[in-house]
Point group: C2
Chain length 213, copies 2
DNA sequence: TCATGTGAACCGGTTCACAGCC
DNA sequence: GGCTGTGAACCGGTTCACATGA
């Protein structure tokens, strides 16, 4: 399969969300312009994206909803040995653990860690929080593919180093700093304060919306 | 001032973070290649960005650190009448309120709302949580520029409609759906589950890092 | 000599436009 | 006729390369 750009991967999530709604309402087929309307993209964009993932439809009947859901799943869904781990179980960490537990049971959390003795031992989602000091031991058996990092800035780099050392291949980082990691590890930064500044800037500038759906 | 692309706005936050560290350590001047190294960009990128915001340096001595911090602040910092409001004070909402209170006191929260009677009246950051039913009344006097939306998906669109109606100009949305809003409102979506899927995909693919700093 | 400022080239993602097919 | 699949054009952001100046 040809390389899939990040922008396409991001849209696949959105396609699938709407496809599931269509499937639930019994619709078996979609046209590119319908799907585009639903996620707020052009029909060419949709066709190009589906071409990129190697999915094809028919001029007469459009795209098969169920097959498309399945093909997107094959790209996005975790494999049986691909789990997550979370470090940092403050408010943000709890929000994440509980969100995934409720909404995305397909994304399995192998473990969760914190350093606060009051938090260690508590259960969120369905993870019992373990002492971050034991991170290496706990990850040694079945190393999760991706770590979600929701610790204070001052600990983020150190924890990231340990996660990489432990064999984690991707990190979703919420601490407001750029992690320094080897090129073999994929890192995505979510900087909430920076996003808020960005929204403020464009809201002030002259309110032009990003794309809908 | 010529239009500033979103990519530049995002980097300004990072430039400033490092500039403040330099300033604190007494450094008065930076060269584009130093600043680039710090945030993980090329020197051309830095020069182009500073050109875009109309900041100039000297070939002999580089860029003035303090002036640059100030000019970035003029772009990113909230004006005196530009505040935030938050709707949804669950775990995620609390994390956000407390983070900004502690780390970004310059970004003022005008108000915070929730619908849970157990949460209404509690204080997070320095906002007392008010009943979301009273949103219109509370926002009527001094309408915040930007709303941060951290409510469950099923309420997000309805709350967004009310916020827009109340005069909010930008929304930072954490609910996993694309809000439908008029073009005059700037919306930024933070979809944590989608980000996690993206990290998983690229981690699996062949771990290629995004840019550092 | 070395860094800035900037036109020009480049690149990857998006959109256009149309050939091919049901 | 209307839709898919796709080469080609387009566009905006990034990088190159060099003229200019201390």
């Amino acid at each position: 399969m040809t390389r899939i750009p990040a922008a396409v991967i991001e849209r696949l999530t959105r396609y699938r969300r709407h496809l599931r709604i269509l499937a639930a309402s019994g619709q078996r087929r979609v046209f590119s312009h319908e799907l585009g309307q639903l996620i707020g993209a052009t029909s060419s964009q949709v066709r190009r994206d589906l071409m990129t993932i190697g999915f094809s439809g028919s001029p007469a009947r459009g795209y098969d909803v169920d097959n498309l859901i399945e093909d997107i799943g094959a790209i996005l869904d975790p494999g049986p040995d691909e789990s997550f781990t979370q470090v940092g179980v403050g408010h943000l960490g709890r929000a994440i653990l509980e969100y995934f537990h409720r909404r995305r049971p397909d994304m399995v959390f192998h473990s969760a860690f914190d350093s606060d003795p009051n938090v260690i031992g508590q259960v969120f989602g369905n993870c019992r929080v373990q002492d971050v000091a034991r991170l290496e031991q706990v990850l040694a058996d079945a190393t999760p593919m991706v770590a979600i990092l929701a610790v204070p800035r001052k600990h983020a780099q150190e924890v990231a180093d340990r996660l990489v050392q432990a064999g984690v291949r991707g990190i979703l980082n919420f601490a407001p700093l750029r992690l320094r990691t080897p090129d073999s590890v994929y890192v995505e930064h979510v900087d909430i304060a920076a996003s808020a500044e960005k929204v403020l800037f464009f809201a002030r500038q002259f309110g032009r919306s990003s794309e809908p759906s």
